[in-house]
């Protein structure tokens, strides 16, 4: 054995290459999950959306602007975003109450109520739309009682809001439920021992702690409402300028082979929705500042 051999000793392992794009971690699966995520997201979300934008870009900016801001389109945006917002707001009130009842109490038929909450997830939306339209039409079961009161609940923006409320309810309930379930009882007992009334405890302790989950539920219900088509068209009446939602306007443009116009309205909706979701996420991050 020569001295050179002895000096080299066992071969030193080559220095490990720094992993690409990630921190070293003992948690396995980064490469696989990230790869699958990006592929699926591209195929299902990004590429189709890019195609929409490309299609809209076939027009000149002036044409684009004219279509995007036409009176009919503006009325449709207003209805779509307005009704989705109101529906999400209604859901965030009744969703909390529903979640509260489901988490805090045991009552006969609880499992059935629990399953009913999820029904809007599963039911074909057209079925819901037809059922709601039948119920709330001026001669329908519910509608006949509203007509004497001067309330028209179908074939107008009120009808749109009713349909979107139906669609959005489970989002708020399911977002709040786990947080409410995890909320420790001792925190409410602490508030009571400090002299807080029940109302104080709910308003100042329970609800603020729910705020982040609440916003999540609101955002999901809102986003779902903006995109909803199937249930709305049966109850909306679909009168241009009055009760025509933006998704329907897109379909109408498509049927007239106006693909670029359809894409234009889609791009506007996409931009507004994305901006609103970003804002809601920012508010949520703020609401979670104490975590």
């Amino acid at each position: 054995m020569t001295t050179a051999d002895a000096a080299s000793g066992p071969a030193a392992p080559p220095p490990a290459r720094r992993p690409f794009l990630r921190r070293r971690s003992a948690i396995p699966g980064f490469g696989l999950t990230m790869g699958v995520t990006l592929s699926v997201l591209s195929l299902i979300v990004l590429i189709p959306l890019a195609a929409v934008v490309l299609k809209a870009a076939h027009q000149s900016p002036a044409e684009f602007w004219a279509v995007a801001t036409s009176r009919r389109a503006m009325a449709a945006y207003r209805l779509t975003f307005g009704a989705a917002f109101v529906a999400a707001a209604i859901n965030s009130v009744f969703g909390v109450l529903t979640a509260w009842a489901l988490v805090r109490y045991d009552f006969p038929g609880k499992t059935i109520v629990n399953a009913l909450v999820d029904l809007p997830f599963a039911l074909p939306t057209a079925v819901a739309g037809i059922a709601l339209a039948t119920l709330y039409a001026p001669t329908g079961w519910v509608g006949q009682f509203l007509t004497p009161l001067g309330i028209k609940a179908a074939y107008n923006p009120v009808g749109v809001t009713i349909a979107l409320t139906f669609i959005g309810l489970p989002f708020v309930v399911r977002a709040i439920e786990p947080v409410l379930r995890d909320a420790a009882e001792d925190v409410e007992e602490a508030a009571a021992s400090l002299g807080a009334t029940r109302l104080d405890t709910i308003l100042r302790i329970v609800l603020p702690a729910l705020a982040p989950a609440w916003l999540t539920g609101f955002a999901m219900a809102f986003a779902r409402g903006v995109g909803e088509y199937g249930s709305v068209i049966f109850i909306a009446g679909n009168m241009p300028y009055k009760s025509e939602i933006a998704p329907l306007l897109i379909i109408i443009q498509l049927e007239q082979f106006e693909y670029a116009r359809a894409a234009t309205i889609a791009v506007v909706m996409l931009t507004v929705s994305f901006t609103m979701l970003l804002i809601i996420n920012a508010v949520q991050a703020w609401a979670r500042r104490f975590d």
């Binding site: 420790a184 007992e189 602490a190 021992s193 400090l194 002299g195 100042r204 302790i205 500042r289």
Partner: protein
């Protein structure tokens, strides 16, 4: 504030949590409720707080019946084992909560509340942390916040449910002293629940030992340790070697071990001998030393008798060398209870 508990009973399902408990707590006293889990100590504390309501019996504050008064009306400060802080509020807001929810003329103005909060932060040595959120504090700091939140309403009685249970040993020790200091500074009647006898003996003026929903003994730490009135107390408070045996003619015997048991009737009995009550004695019984290890100024010796009984003996470090091989020992003192 004096507190009287009069034959309070509470049952959860078929399981009795409190069984005719009587207890008098003097004004300004620091009392420990000590017992194993399931002994009813927490239920008793919660009944005093108004978080649980007894099935029978009375709770009196200064002679006034508050058995069914709500927690909000009792003006008690309650500290929970898991802190129960309002996590969406800053430390200062947490402490101010009890003052902030008061209505009308009872509610101090903003400056007064801020002053109180500062004062309390100083009392529990958390100055400058008022703007943090609970999630930004350590366990010990959170429990200090919980303590000052409870004190903010100037409670007539301070109740603590296993206040140090979720903390590590070092923090636990320092917080114990802190509680004693805060108690002495404020003079508020304080009751705390613990399953840790060391904690109860160190901290409390008096200790009430609970078992199976009954109070076994109430007394000063010295009394419950040195003169345990029941076998349970003797085994639960302090270290003890337990022997099952027989009493006949005023003498207890268990194998090689013999002890005086005057006044006890003949029959089965249990004897307890504290580790430090064994001493080397040529007229005593024989035991073989298995292991000896240092514990602070003392040495703990594990020995076994020829008939297989295991003993734990405490000796001074100076004496320790003599505990080797086969030794003869005797009990200087023992507690014998009829079975």
């Amino acid at each position: 504030m004096t507190i009287s508990i009069r034959s309070v009973e509470k049952t959860f399902g078929r399981y009795p949590a409190l069984n005719k408990v009587d207890l008098e707590i003097a004004d300004g006293e620091l009392l420990a409720l000590l017992g194993p889990s399931g002994s009813g100590k927490t239920t008793l504390l919660r009944a005093i707080a108004g978080l649980e309501f007894p099935d029978a019996g009375q709770v009196l504050f200064d002679g006034v019946d508050v058995t069914f008064a709500s927690a909000a009306d009792r003006r008690v400060g309650f500290v929970f084992q898991q802190y129960a802080l309002f996590k969406h509020m800053t430390v200062a807001k947490n402490i101010a909560f009890g003052l902030d929810v008061r209505k009308g003329k009872d509610k101090p103005d903003k400056a007064e509340i801020a002053r109180r909060v500062e004062e309390l932060l100083k009392l529990v040595e958390l100055e400058g942390l008022g703007k943090r959120y609970p999630s930004q504090l350590s366990g010990g700091q959170r429990q200090r916040v919980a303590l000052s939140r409870a004190l903010a309403v100037q409670p007539s009685v301070l109740l603590l449910d296993e206040p140090f249970g979720a903390l590590d040993a070092t923090v636990r020790k320092s917080l114990r002293r802190e509680l004693r200091r805060v108690h002495d500074a404020t003079g508020v009647t304080t009751i705390f629940v613990t399953h840790d006898q060391e904690e109860a003996l160190e901290l409390a003026d008096r200790v009430a030992i609970l078992n199976n929903g009954r109070i076994e003994q109430i007394g000063t730490p010295d009394q419950v340790h040195d003169q345990p009135s029941t076998a349970f107390v003797c085994g639960f408070v302090g270290e003890a070697n337990r022997f099952e045996g027989q009493v006949s003619n005023g003498r207890f015997s268990a194998g090689v071990l013999g002890l005086p048991a005057t006044g006890l009737r003949d029959g089965a009995a249990t004897a307890y001998v504290r580790p430090h009550d064994f001493a080397l004695d040529d007229s005593g019984f024989e035991a073989r030393v298995e292991r000896a290890h240092v514990q602070g100024p003392l040495t703990t010796v594990n020995a076994v008798t020829p008939d297989g009984r295991r003993l734990e003996i405490s000796a001074s470090r100076a004496e320790a060398a003599r505990f080797a091989g086969t030794i003869r020992i005797a009990a200087r003192k023992a507690h014998v209870y009829a079975a």
